[in-house]
Amino acid sequence: MRELTYNEAAVEAVAEEMRRDPKIFYMSTDAIPSLLQEFGEQRIRATPIAEAALTGMAIGAAGSGFRPIVDWRQVTFCFVAMDQIVNQAAKIHYMFGGQVTFPILYRAAVGGGGLVAAQHSQSPYSMFMNVAGLKMFLPSTPYDIKGLLKTAIRDNNPVISFESSRLMGRKGPVPEGDYTIPFGVADVKRSGDDVTVVALAWLVHESLAAAEELAKEGISVEIVDPRTLVPLDTATIRESVRKTGRLVIADEAGPTCGFSAEVAAVVTEDAATFARLKAPVKRVCALQVPIPYSPVLENAVFPDRGRIIAGIREVLQGTRSAAAA
């Protein structure tokens, strides 16, 4: 099968959908050259740096029959549009009694690794997961980002595509032709029996590397990639943990009220899954600090395969009675 980068797969998804549906148009502060060349300035709009306006304009255009895409580029730039995201886009369908639909795709790069310091290395998806009325995903492979973006563009709700900065140039197999990946369906990236690792984006790849390493010792690791954050595939996560009895959650964001906390709650509040847990849940996350610039500091903040391995060893040694003992 041919290989594309994560970024190429994303652009291909947008281009295919724009060929299919003339109601789709694209707004970003700089136009993507290949899209501009194919679709022209009317549908690929280079805009002022005015994210609050763009984010809201997408809502009005969607409510008027179009299917806008707004590319915030980096997630950090959408914070000036929080009113439009939280007060407007997330609530408008519900608040108006479901009168009309608002098919909008917002795109945002997230994550660190670029040595660009605190404002440009953020992973704030759990802030948005906390807002009712938004769907969102964070893919780990070129195949997944293409299929999820196509689903998002066809969805009749505001959807945020969080896209990993670290993975933009990473290649992977992508079949020719049209396919979609449904929301709310996790992908088991590796099957195993001893421990479940629920990981997102770049940390899926770090977890796969960790699993390879531990396989040499006879430790069998299962890796679940939720792919979609809202709706979250709780069934697959619980099923995996019921099988292995042990859970590590790997996330490039900090732990506080984060995606990792949600997964821990999903597992522990379900009686049947809780009953099968053999050890406390372990979260392997970024430190709860603004992301620093210097490589030594950035590496110290983000989790990697080494910290995932350490986390796996910890839960393999843990027992339910440790606290009582």
Partner: protein, 327 residues
């Protein structure tokens, strides 16, 4: 103060303007009374005193044109042709309301008539309706979009971002500032660098017009010119309507209203409805019987709306989870 000359509107159209303004006035009086009687919940912001702006602008629009409103949104809904029954049912929190009881006073919308919603966030609607203006331009059918907002919103970022985009892209937009001189309890004099919001249009290279917002013919003429300009592809216009709200910012009890009572009374002497009524009488287009007929129609429609609202069932608790996402 005399009104602007009567526009080239037939007398029955002018009487229809009066009927709509009276409908807004009586609707707001009833909403206020029913709010204080405990039949309407949360918060209500009354449009009384500003009726000439909504009706004057919307009379210049076609049904397919789109508008957006503010927290003080009942008047814009009525002027765009919304159904009083479903409006009142929404205020009453019933299933039969425009938003099935999910929105209330601050969130009435009717996309079917191009009313893209009242909006509880000051300046929150401006970018949404600018997107509708972009949609109208891309549709290429001559549609226009109108942002109604207050003097308070003109100090918020999205106002400036959107005026720049609309001017740059020549979007078919009207930005209608209802300058009622107060952002909640804070006076525009304390918060605006310039006396006229319309002067800001110069910064974006578009026309900025100041009109007497209580003179419905002046509002209508300014809006009609701006609509013509928008439909021709020449781009947006900023229209500032100087007006005044008679009631406090909201109907909440015990809310401070720092405005000078003499100031409020002086503005009541410039009642936009009384002005139009006098003008129609002077033109020979309205007599006592005619006015009684209009008043009677308005009150009958309002009573029917209240009856419809009271007869409507409340939502079921389990409907709280409906419509979070569209299918």
């Amino acid at each position: 103060m005399p009104m602007s000359p009567s526009p080239n509107l037939p007398p029955d159209k002018q009487r229809e303007m009066l009927r709509q303004m009276l409908t807004i006035r009586r609707f707001e009086e009833r909403a206020s009374a029913d709010y204080h009687a405990g039949k309407i919940y949360g918060v209500v912001h009354c449009y009384i005193g500003e009726e000439a702006v909504a009706v004057g602008v919307c009379t210049a629009l076609d049904r397919g044109d789109r508008i957006i409103s503010t927290h003080r949104g009942h008047g814009h809904c009525i002027a765009k042709g919304a159904d009083l029954n479903r409006m009142m049912a929404e205020l009453y929190g019933r299933q039969t309301g425009y938003c099935k009881g999910k929105g209330g006073s601050m969130h009435i919308a009717d996309f079917g008539i191009g009313m893209l919603g009242a909006n509880g966030i000051v300046a929150g609607g401006i970018s949404i309706i600018t997107g509708a203006g972009l949609a109208a331009q891309m549709e290429g059918k001559g549609g226009v979009a109108v942002a109604f907002f207050g003097d308070g919103a003109s100090n918020a970022g999205p106002f400036h971002e959107c005026l720049n985009i609309a001017a740059t892209w020549k979007l078919p937009m009207l930005y209608v500032c209802e300058n009622n001189l107060y952002a909640a309890q804070t006076s525009a004099a304390e918060t605006h660098a310039l006396g006229d919001v319309a002067a800001r249009a110069a910064g974006y290279g578009i026309p900025g017009i100041v009109v007497d917002g209580n003179d419905i013919f002046a509002v209508h003429q300014a809006a009609s010119r701006a609509v013509e300009r928008a439909r021709s592809g020449a781009g947006p216009t900023l229209i500032e309507c100087k007006t005044y709200r008679w009631r406090a910012h909201t109907e909440r009890k015990g809310q401070p209203d720092p405005r000078d009572k003499a100031e409020v009374e002086a503005w009541k002497q410039k009642d936009p409805i009384a002005l139009l009524e006098r003008q129609l009488r002077d033109q020979g287009d309205l007599d006592d019987a005619g006015l009684r007929g209009i008043e009677g129609d308005v009150m009958a429609a309002l009573e029917a709306a209240v009856a419809f609202a009271e007869a409507g069932p409340f939502p079921l608790p389990e409907q709280a989870t409906d419509d979070v996402f569209a299918a």
